[in-house]
Symmetry: D2
Subunit: 295 residues, 4 copies
């Protein structure tokens, strides 16, 4: 942690800040310049609240130096994580996986019909039981202990977890969510972008495609995209699915329904089977541009 004192800070104020930092468990290095004093704090607990120091008299700014996540960071596993499923499917490996299915299962017959269409188009059928999907709470600071408990639990789940970015969550918060699950012992985590809330109202959410390369830089976890929820509109799903693959997504989640206009929920964002088959063809053409193939 770096604490920049105000130019007008008195020696008493500086000493008070140093005392507080030492009490919090930091080793403090002081650097006195022509204009201002800067203090460096080394070695404290990770869940330390920066605002406690910002509020002290004479303090101008406080910067956290160490990343608030370790296990989720790229340097923890520079080669990247490949999440493996029982049936041989791998997410995060060489191939891009397209998982498709109806948003909710309405009947045995529907599931059967849709599954056949998806398999025929060359994609994977998304089954409810394969994952434990969970939205990353939008703000860890806001949730506090409750969020911590929720996600420690996920660390004990014995199947891959699909951690979706909350609509108001920064990417750092998404990685913090992952950090909690990892620290609980479950390393099979797949991250997912599915839209954030902005001032633009034409689509329900604004899908943040740049989240894909950013997560790939910051973390070793596979990064996927959900253009169906990310746009909420059938006619925007194909362009955003193509964009996600072009930006480097490891997998896609796509809603398909054999009769979208009769779907019980979210029919407006489900593709017709023929739209999905066309999209699969397009994705097969794009994948080689990022050195990959559709699984």
């Amino acid at each position: 942690m770096i604490v920049a004192m105000q130019e007008s800070a008195s020696e008493d104020q500086i000493q008070h800040v140093i005392d507080q930092l030492v009490q919090m468990g930091f080793e403090v290095h002081r650097s006195t310049g022509v204009r201002q004093t800067v203090l460096g704090g080394v070695g404290a607990q990770p869940d330390f609240d920066v605002r406690e120091v910002e509020m002290l008299p004479g303090v101008q700014q406080v910067h956290r130096i160490t990343s608030p996540y370790k296990l989720a960071g790229r340097s923890f596993r520079p080669e990247g994580t490949v999440v493996k499923f029982g049936n041989g499917l791998e997410i995060g490996g060489k191939n891009i996986v397209v998982m498709a299915g109806p948003c909710s299962v309405e009947s045995r017959e529907q599931l059967f019909t849709v599954s056949e269409l998806i398999a025929k188009a060359g994609a994977r059928v998304l089954r409810g039981g394969a994952f434990k999907p969970r939205s990353s709470p939008y703000s860890f600071q806001g949730l506090g202990l409750e969020g911590l408990k929720l996600l420690r639990e996920l660390g004990k789940v014995r199947k891959p977890i699909l951690l979706k970015r909350g609509i108001a969550a920064t990417l750092e918060e998404l990685l913090l969510s992952a950090e909690y699950v990892l620290s609980g012992g479950n390393y099979d985590i797949i991250l997912c972008e599915r839209g954030i809330r902005t001032f633009e109202t034409y689509t329900r959410n604004t899908m943040d495609i740049s989240a894909i390369p950013i997560i790939h830089k910051l973390s070793h976890l596979p990064m996927t995209a959900d253009p169906s929820h990310g746009t909420g509109r059938r006619d925007k799903v194909a362009p955003m699915a193509r964009a996600s693959v072009a930006a480097g997504a490891d997998a896609l989640l796509i809603e398909v329904h054999h009769q979208p206009d009769k779907a019980l929920s979210d029919g407006a964002q489900s593709l017709y089977p023929e739209q999905f088959a066309k999209l699969m063809d397009e994705l097969r053409m794009i994948a080689p541009a990022v050195g990959r193939e559709i699984a």
Copy 2:
């Protein structure tokens, strides 16, 4: 315009709203239901302020029915606009155009070196004089007469105009900007997405890739993307350039510099020549997936 009255609205309030609408030049149709009265207003001036009616006593909600733009709307020219340059270059046609260059011209020598590199990679050199670039004011309501004047002027410019979405502008506002220029008589407008401001702070702006298919649905104008300004970081330019082409962009604007770390401005978002050449190869692989080629 549709005015939904509150359930508790009195007959006097309803009559007052009708009188006001008539004074504003509307022809009013009244529909009295079991629970509430709904008024339909037909035929008023386009720059009518919806809030004037929202504020009248007894009014619950007001909806504008007619689109606030006409000339910029898809139905005005369903086949799409192709903007033609003197040198034979076309934007909005079958081919995707990649325009590249340094952010600012520092010397004759620099321009010459960069141009050669760009041409060798198979892209077009972006010359300052080819366009009249202009940011769409973020909010027309906020700018009022000043914005109107600014853009009426652009309508008289005799060269193609590159209208960039403001960082706080909705897509409707971008199209309203275009409407003003079109109404001034200049039909050679190219729209451009280059990032909007959101709560995410990792990148300077959040590039809204979905703007590309949305504009293509709503308007006949060519839609382009500027991943250099859209992300502000060199290492994110290539993924977002690929995503833009995959989402259907008609052209890209990309900053390239032979010595980005010595550039006078925005070097951090300029590509190295070898990065740019590699990107061009990737774009050539993606274009056929959307039925196009790189020009």
Copy 3:
């Protein structure tokens, strides 16, 4: 519901939309104008998905006319709701209530010390058991059935519910949350503003003071403010508490701690007892300007 068809919509497309609306249970009125056809749909189920109609060929825009909430709307109880507690306390009545306490109870002794200080300053001690606090899920559309269940349960709780606006929730979504609880039979709901997420990063959240008069116009439910969570910083709590009362808040929730720098959680946003006493004096001066007193 009003459906504005595109100018270019064919008669077949119009008939198809009419058929769909009738199938969805709407009675349809058709109005054919010089430029476009507008359809009015009357009488459908409240949880109807507008996007289903937006997606039909030839449709330009769809507007929901009836408010998506009824029980939470002002016209349901124009005189306003007063929530009464066992101990005679009333929220939403003539007096403004200031509820204060530590964020989390650390010990019997702490609770006793803080309570004494609060009572001495003339405010009410906030006890964990008095309320059932709950954040309104940020997006009902996003939560779907899960959100519905969560809140139907709250309808059966037999104590007042404090429904806090989510950091990404619009005011309409907050009222929709309240609607679910009301429809479950619990009418003792208190709404609360505690900050939304915006691009500004100086404070954790941006407290939306205008939410107070807006909710008072749209709904009969008491509207309160939580400046401690709304700003996250002790030095901003007093100005925002004063602003909330000046804007018409029915109650305030404020964190106070006798030793904020030793608090186990959120100490940075807790007031020192002497700051709180000073604030109470200021609030007593402001309340008469809005025709009220501090309880």
Copy 4:
């Protein structure tokens, strides 16, 4: 500037970063820890682009230590700035100034009528010529040289400048705008909050009342509020005007019109004279709570 290197950074990468910093004019201090190396850079030019360093191989994070503004900072003039007008009016002093007037002048008669009403209510008439009002460009980084020129010019204006926060501008960017004007030699700057763009659509903008105490902490410049533009709706102007005074505003700008429903522009946000007179009475009651009076 503090540069935190990645844990996995090689010695070569560290040396390269040090070399670059030295070339940029920094004096570099190196601190090698158990887990990572941290570099401190002292003494560079203020308009240095942090991203240049963030992009270097092996760099984890870069923090700017020195504030990007000096002249606008509180410590430059701890006692605060009082802007004085020719007619004896002072903004930033002990008294709160309420400036009112029509949004645009439609006729001599209108100006006369409105002025009389305003003076009778005890407020100051806002004359077009008293100020040079200007919106702070939302992003200095985005505007670059153009923004710089625009504001250097303002530094030569010989009358007080009212610098309004752009709807997408952070408070730091507002202070950077002020810094440019101050560096040009004009110290008579008044800052103004008038709403930012968020996901909430009920009001045109979301007025950020917390901007008032934040600016007062960070800067010596007077901070004012414009609830008319900040809300865009007449019925929200009075609550937000009261909230602004309660939060510590030095002055208010309020639109008043003797016939708002006949105003040529922005009538929907103009107060009726009797509403304005009532508001003035309320503000007189609130001011003493913040130790002030209405001028």
